[in-house]
């Protein structure tokens, strides 16, 4: 090498330029379009990949250094938490149910994100985005691992943590987040970047990781808050990648605008629907609340998303039309989702319950326009019935939206007492969606969404029983067989929190931790 060593080290801008430029080459044995077959079919036109600028300019050596340090800090906390029986410092064992949902519904998707970014990195012909996707792919793997490690400690003591991977591929409510990622992964690399890199990371993960994780801290879950913030520190990089990707596409060619706008509209709505689960976690499942879903939505979506769209307006991007419905929905979705899970509490791998009077007062103060008017009476009735020994469980199965796969539980935008149903026809068959947003997505790509694996349809078709099940035998109990197929431990993983094994164990162990007898 004939490079001169200079006294001054390279600044990060130069270091990053060396790392991401000039390392690439044009292929000669095969034409470039055969080496990168996914780069053009979506219609996005890129003229100069070198115009890509990664704002964080993190080079591989600093990446390993800081990530290693983050890991050491995180694992020190996890060890301390486990060694000191940290689980007994939780506010209330009800809290555990929020992180059961997290482990089964969210952590496995970090792994899918790892695969998706590895694929996107492979498929982009530009070296800048390829390096950024590589780092994000490694990050996502780290998130899956650290979340599973952190939450495995709870599996030693409590129900419902034992088989998240098996459950993700089968259970009715887990198909909601799973199908979101499957939808994104089965699109091309540019749409994937909008779906995950932009809508999910930039617009939505703040709502998942920031107030919810602060809530974990408030509820004494040191392990979760630490992995959550550790993951979110990577998300800060991912968000800038997602935003950069949008800007890059829009600056490269004016023909990209309508395609990008269509994807933004689609994925903003898809993301909003998935977040229904988080709304319910924040408003109902955290015994000690940091802020309501509505407040979190206003800060992280309306204020932050508003700023973002105002900024993108210079490229001609407009706020997705369907999001107008969100300012109505923010006052309802958490209550509607919790009411649904309460009724289907026999078929969920976590416990459900009705809020106490104090908690209902908190809900009325946070939702002055809706909670008392539409939900309090119903919830009080259910609670009274449960106290009399008539805990209500529904035994039927709900109709699912063909796109978001959420049960049809949402109400009409102008009438919170009427369930919203939309219907489309394709190839002589009827398909149902939960909203104008989902119907619009279906109608745009019906060939894709008619292939959805809808858990309720699959149960009715007899595809969700353990092998060798004979549904014709006398006294056949379909629900029990479905739960067996899901690997749920009937009576321990599901049903009401009141009277559960988690509740009894937590009380007994906490008693042992504070008394000598």
């Amino acid at each position: 090498m004939d490079m001169h060593a200079t006294k001054k080290k390279l600044g990060i801008k130069e270091k990053y330029a060396h790392m991401t430029r000039g390392l690439d080459w044009e292929t000669s044995y095969q034409p470039m379009e055969k080496v990168f077959p996914q780069a053009t079919f979506e219609g996005i036109k890129i003229h100069d990949w070198d115009k890509w600028e990664d704002p964080f300019r993190l080079t591989m050596d600093s990446y390993w250094k800081y990530q290693a340090e983050k890991e050491r800090k995180l694992y020190a906390v996890l060890d301390a938490f486990a060694q000191n029986n940290g689980h007994l410092g939780l506010t209330d064992a009800r809290y555990l149910n929020a992180i059961k949902l997290f482990l089964t519904g969210i952590s496995p998707l970090e792994y899918v994100a790892h695969r998706g970014f590895a694929a996107a990195g492979r498929n982009f012909p530009g070296v800048g985005p390829r390096v950024a996707c590589l780092m994000q792919s490694v990050d996502e793997m780290r998130h899956a691992q650290t979340q599973i490690h952190a939450l495995s400690n709870y599996n030693k003591h409590y129900d419902g943590f034992h088989d998240f991977k098996h459950m993700l591929e089968r259970v009715w409510y887990l198909s909601v987040p799973k199908s979101f990622f499957d939808d994104a992964f089965s699109a091309g690399p540019f749409e994937w970047m909008i779906a995950i890199g932009f809508s999910f990371e930039y617009v939505l993960t703040n709502l998942l990781f920031v107030p919810f994780m602060s809530g974990a801290a408030y509820n004494g879950d040191m392990a979760t808050v630490t992995f959550g913030f550790s993951a979110q520190s990577d998300e800060a990089r991912h968000m800038t990648l997602g935003l950069e990707c949008i800007k890059f596409m829009l600056e490269q060619d004016p023909d990209n605008l309508p395609i990008v706008q269509k994807w933004i509209d689609k994925w903003a709505w898809r993301g909003v629907r998935v977040l229904t689960l988080v709304a319910m976690m924040m408003d109902y499942m955290l015994p000690k609340r940091v802020m309501s879903w509505k407040e979190a939505w206003e800060i992280y979506f309306e204020q932050n998303g508003g700023a973002l769209f105002a900024d993108l307006a210079r490229y001609g991007i407009t706020m997705p039309e369907c999001l107008k419905q969100c300012s109505i929905d923010k006052e309802h979705i958490g209550h509607q989702a919790w009411a649904t899970f309460y009724q289907y509490g026999g078929a969920a791998a976590f416990h459900t319950w009705m809020p106490s009077d104090d908690e209902m007062d908190w809900l009325s103060s946070k939702y002055p326009n809706t909670f008392d008017k539409y939900y309090r009476a119903r919830f009080t009735h259910w609670r009274n019935e449960a106290e009399k020994g008539n805990r209500f469980y529904t035994n039927t199965l709900p109709m699912l939206c063909q796109v978001c796969q959420i049960p049809m539980l949402f109400t009409e935008p102008d009438d919170p007492t009427t369930i919203c149903y939309r219907e489309s026809e394709y190839d002589g068959e009827k398909y149902h969606t939960c909203s104008d947003g989902c119907k619009h997505i279906f109608d745009d790509e019906p060939q894709k969404y008619i292939q959805a694996w809808l858990p309720v349809h699959q149960i009715y078709q007899g595809n969700c029983f353990p092998e060798g099940t004979d549904p014709t035998v006398e006294g056949f109990d379909p629900l029990a067989k479905v739960l067996e197929y899901y690997h749920f431990d009937m009576g321990n993983d599901n049903l009401d929190f009141e009277g559960s094994r988690d509740q009894a164990n937590f009380a007994a162990w906490r008693g042992m931790a504070t008394k000598n007898t």
Binding site: G11, I12, K13, P55, F56, R57, L58, S62, Y66, E69, K70, K73, T205, N206, F209, V210, P211, M213, S214, G215, A217, Y218, V225, F229, Q232, S233, E235, A236, R237, M239, T240, L243, V290, M291, Q303, N304, G306, A307, L308, A310, D311, A313, R314
Partner: protein, 89 residues
């Protein structure tokens, strides 16, 4: 004008960072939540390496922010001396 923000974990490493950011950005406001502090600022926010170094008494690499950063919003421009967030509208 829209707001940018940045949030850090609450710990001994971030205390001087937050102090420096608030001193360098008089228009910024810190909002504390359990385990985190979020700093909001109209239009833009700048984090200066020198101001942090002055408070901690050692050299500081702005990429160390990665260790305790939770989230941010706005376009980022980072070099060796400053880390700037802004909206262009």
């Amino acid at each position: 004008m829209s707001k940018v923000f940045i949030a850090f974990q609450c710990n001994e490493d971030t205390r001087p960072i937050v102090e420096a950011v608030l001193a360098d950005n008089p228009h910024a406001e810190a909002i504390e939540s359990p385990a985190m502090v979020k700093i909001d600022a109209e239009g833009s926010l700048v984090i200066k390496r020198e101001s942090i170094e002055e408070l901690i008494g050692r050299t500081f690499d702005l990429q160390e922010l990665q260790m305790s950063l939770i989230t941010l919003s706005g376009h980022l421009d980072e070099d060796d001396d400053q880390f700037k967030l802004s909206w262009l509208n």
